[in-house]
C-alpha cells in the first residue's frame, strides 16, 4: 500500500502545474466549506444563545392549547397551583435541567397619565428568571444594582420603544391597566426601574414586572402560571430532554405541552436557512472535487495508455492497476484536503483574533468563529469519498485495457 501511495504521488507530480492547479481548486472548495461553516455555525450559536439566554429559555412548558392562541395572550389557559406543582415536580426530577422560571404573560395598557399605549408583559420572579435566562440583564440598559434581584415589587422594566414613545425616564411612575380573565379591568401604579432593549428589534413591546404585581393587577389569589421557561445544563441535550419531559408531563392528569425554542422562535427558520446554505456550499465542494478529479484522472489515463500497457505486460493484475489509479485520485483528494484544512483553519484563527462585530436586532454580537471540527471531519470524508468515486471510471477504464492494444497505442 505504501508503495502504491509513493507511486501515486510520483504520478501526480509528473504534471506539476496541472496537479497544483487542480489541488488549489479543491483546496479552495475545502477552505470555503470550513470558513463558511465556521462562520455560519458561530453565527447560529451566537444567535441561538441570544434568543435562549435572553428571552425564550431552551424549552417552555404551557398548558395544552396555549401556543396555538399565543398571539391573544389568553389568561384562561394557565396552570393552576396544583398543575404547576406537578410540572415543578417533573422538572426537579430531571438532572439535565439547570433552572426554570414560571411566568405570567398578558397584554396590558401603559399610561403616563397623558398618553397610553399597549404593552406585552411578562411577570416573573427575578431570581428564577435570572437563573433561567442568564443574559437577560444584558438587555437592561440602566444601572440595576443587584443583578439577581433586578426587579422589585412595584417596579417595571419598560422596552426602549415605549420609553421613547411615551417620553418616559427611569424613576417615572406609570399606570398599568389590564383586563383579567373574568373580564374586569384593574390598574396599578408602578415605577420604571430600568429601560430594556428588545432582542427582536425596535418593534418589540415586551416589558417585565414582578409576579406579585401581576397577581394584584389581574386579581389572582394564587399565581396562575402561563408558561415555564427552562434552562438546560447542556444545550446539546435539548432533543433528549424535550422527549423525556413530554413523556413525564403526559403522565399527569391535565395535558401540558412542551416546546423547544426552535418551535417558538422565528429565528429557527433562519437557523435552518443557515444549515441549508452550509449544505449548498458542501454540494459546491462535491461538484468541484468530482469534476476536478474526474478530469485530471481521465486525462491521466489517456496520456498513459502505453504505460498502462507496459505495467500490464510486466504482470500487474487488472485489480492492481485499478487500485493504482484509485490511489492517485485518493492521494489528490487527500493532499488538496490537507492544504484546504490548513488554510481554512488559519483563516478562522485569524478571524477569531480580530473578532467581527455586528448587530442583530438591538443586540451587539461578536462573531468569534470556533474551529468546526465536525465540519472538518465531514469535509475530509466527503473529499476522500468523492475523489475515489470520481477516479472510479478512469481507473476502471485503465484496468480493462488489453495490454497488447495499450502497448501499440501511440
Amino acid at each position: 500500500m505504501i508503495n502504491l501511495i509513493k507511486i501515486a504521488v510520483r504520478n501526480l507530480f509528473r504534471y506539476k502545474r496541472r496537479t497544483i492547479l487542480t489541488s488549489s481548486l479543491i483546496a479552495f472548495g475545502v477552505v470555503l466549506v470550513i470558513v463558511f461553516g465556521g462562520l455560519a455555525i458561530s453565527f447560529k450559536t451566537q444567535m441561538v444563545g441570544v434568543i435562549t439566554n435572553t428571552a425564550l429559555g431552551d424549552l417552555q412548558v404551557h398548558k395544552k392549547g396555549y401556543v396555538e392562541s399565543i398571539d391573544n395572550l389568553p389568561l384562561n389557559i394557565s396552570l393552576s397551583d396544583s398543575e404547576y406543582a406537578d410540572v415543578e415536580r417533573s422538572l426537579k426530577a430531571m438532572p439535565e435541567i439547570a433552572a426554570y422560571s414560571p411566568r405570567i404573560k398578558f397584554g396590558a395598557m401603559i399610561s403616563n397619565y397623558v398618553q397610553t399605549s399597549n404593552i406585552r408583559l411578562t411577570a416573573i420572579y427575578p431570581e428564577l428568571e435570572s437563573n433561567t435566562l442568564p443574559d437577560l440583564i444584558k438587555r437592561i440598559k440602566s444601572d440595576i444594582g443587584d443583578k439577581k434581584n433586578f426587579l422589585k415589587q412595584g417596579e417595571i422594566l419598560v422596552p426602549e420603544n415605549l420609553m421613547k414613545g411615551l417620553s418616559l425616564k427611569v424613576g417615572d411612575e406609570i399606570v398599568l391597566i389590564a383586563t383579567n380573565k373574568d373580564g374586569s379591568v384593574n390598574g396599578i401604579p408602578v415605577r420604571i426601574a430600568a429601560m430594556m432593549e428588545n432582542v427582536l428589534g425596535p418593534s418589540g413591546k415586551d416589558g417585565y414586572i414582578h409576579i406579585a404585581d401581576a397577581m394584584s393587577l389581574l386579581r389572582m389569589e394564587k399565581p396562575e402560571i402561563i408558561e415555564v421557561a427552562i434552562k438546560l445544563k447542556q444545550f446539546d441535550q435539548l432533543g433528549k430532554v424535550h422527549e423525556n419531559l413530554k413523556k413525564a408531563l403526559s403522565q399527569q392528569p391535565t395535558q401540558k405541552e412542551v416546546h423547544t425554542w426552535e418551535q417558538l422562535s422565528p429565528f429557527a427558520s433562519i437557523a435552518r436557512i443557515v444549515d441549508l446554505l452550509i449544505l449548498v456550499v458542501k454540494f459546491i465542494l462535491i461538484s468541484i472535487v468530482l469534476v476536478s478529479v474526474l478530469n485530471i484522472m481521465t486525462m491521466s489515463v489517456y496520456e498513459r495508455i502505453s504505460e498502462i500497457g507496459t505495467i500490464a505486460a510486466i504482470g500487474t493484475r487488472p485489480s492492481r492497476i485499478l487500485t493504482m489509479f484509485l490511489m492517485e485520485g485518493f492521494t489528490m483528494g487527500l493532499l488538496s484536503n490537507f492544504i484546504g484544512v490548513l488554510v481554512g483553519v488559519g483563516v478562522l484563527l485569524l478571524m477569531d483574533t480580530t473578532s467581527i462585530n455586528f448587530t442583530f436586532g438591538q443586540m451587539n454580537v461578536t462573531l468569534a468563529p470556533d474551529i468546526p471540527y465536525s465540519e472538518i471531519l465531514l469535509t475530509t470524508v466527503i473529499v476522500m469519498l468523492v475523489s475515489i468515486f470520481a477516479s472510479l471510471q478512469p481507473a476502471y477504464k485503465a484496468s480493462r485495457m488489453e495490454p497488447v492494444d495499450a502497448l501499440g497505442h501511440v
Binding site: I7, R10, R14, S306, G315, T316, P318, M324
Partner: protein, 231 residues
C-alpha cells in the same frame, strides 16, 4: 519437456470487415535456456508469436503451452500473474517510465508484483544494473540516457523478477547497428548468466548472429529454422 510449445496456432485479426491471417497453423517448440530469434519482414507474424507466448494475446485456434500452462485459457488476472512470475518483456520503444529514475524503473516490477524484502530488492537491482553496465546511471532519468542505455535498463527490468523467459520484440529497431549489436550481446550474456530463455524478434538479419536458434517467418508461417551449435 519443452519450455514453449505452439501447436497448430492460427491467429486471425479482423481489420474492419477484412480478416487478416497473422499466423497460419504454425507449430514449434523452444527448449529451456536457449537464445532464440524470430526474423522476418514487417507483418510476417513475429510480434504476434511473441504476444501469444507472452499471454498478451490469445490465438484464434491452437494451443500455446508455456512452462506447462496453456496460456490461451488464462483469464486477464491469471494471465497477468503468469506474466509476472514467468515472463520478462523488452520493448522496441524501451517503455521506461519517464518520471522514474533508472533504479526506480528496474524496481517498478518488484513494487507492483513481487513482495520481497527491501534489502534483497536493493541487492538484486544493484547486481542487475552492474551486469548491464548501468549502475553509474542509476539516478538518471530516461530522458538523460541514450537509446542503447535505455534498452539495457529495459533488459535489467525484464530480468529483475527472475523470469524463465524474456521476450524482446524488435529490441534493436530504434538503435544504430553498433548499439543494436551491443544490446543483443548483453542479452546473450544475461541469458548465459541467469539461464533464462531469451526470445527476440528482428527484421535485421545482421544482428541475429548471436542467436542459437533462428526462425525465419514469412506471411505468418515458419519458412526456415536454423539451429547453431552452443558454445
Amino acid at each position: 519437456m519443452s519450455l514453449i510449445k505452439l501447436e497448430n496456432v492460427k491467429k486471425i485479426y479482423q481489420t474492419g470487415e477484412i480478416p487478416v491471417t497473422a499466423l497460419n497453423e504454425i507449430s514449434f517448440t523452444i527448449e529451456r535456456q536457449t537464445f532464440v530469434s524470430f526474423i522476418g519482414p514487417s507483418g510476417s507474424g513475429k510480434s504476434t508469436i511473441l504476444n501469444l507466448i507472452g499471454s498478451l494475446d490469445k490465438p484464434t485456434s491452437g494451443n500455446v503451452i508455456v512452462d506447462n500452462v496453456n496460456v490461451a485459457t488464462l483469464d486477464r488476472s491469471n494471465a497477468a500473474m503468469f506474466r509476472g512470475s514467468t515472463i520478462g518483456f523488452v520493448f522496441q520503444n524501451f517503455n521506461l517510465i519517464p518520471v522514474l529514475s533508472v533504479y526506480e524503473n528496474v524496481e517498478y516490477p518488484l513494487l507492483l508484483i513481487k513482495q520481497i524484502p527491501v534489502s534483497e530488492r536493493r541487492e538484486r537491482i544493484h547486481s542487475l544494473l552492474e551486469k548491464v553496465g548501468m549502475i553509474d546511471y542509476r539516478n538518471k532519468y530516461p530522458n538523460q540516457i541514450s537509446g542503447g542505455q535505455k534498452q539495457r535498463v529495459a533488459i535489467a527490468r525484464a530480468l529483475v523478477t527472475n523470469p524463465k523467459i524474456v521476450l524482446a520484440d524488435e529490441p534493436t529497431a530504434n538503435l544504430d547497428h553498433k548499439t543494436a549489436f551491443k544490446v543483443i550481446t548483453i542479452m546473450h550474456e544475461m541469458q548465459k548468466t541467469f539461464g533464462t530463455t531469451f526470445i527476440f524478434s528482428t527484421h535485421d538479419p545482421k544482428i541475429v548472429g548471436e542467436a542459437e536458434i533462428i526462425y525465419t517467418l514469412e506471411d505468418g508461417a515458419i519458412v526456415n529454422q536454423e539451429i547453431k551449435q552452443k558454445g
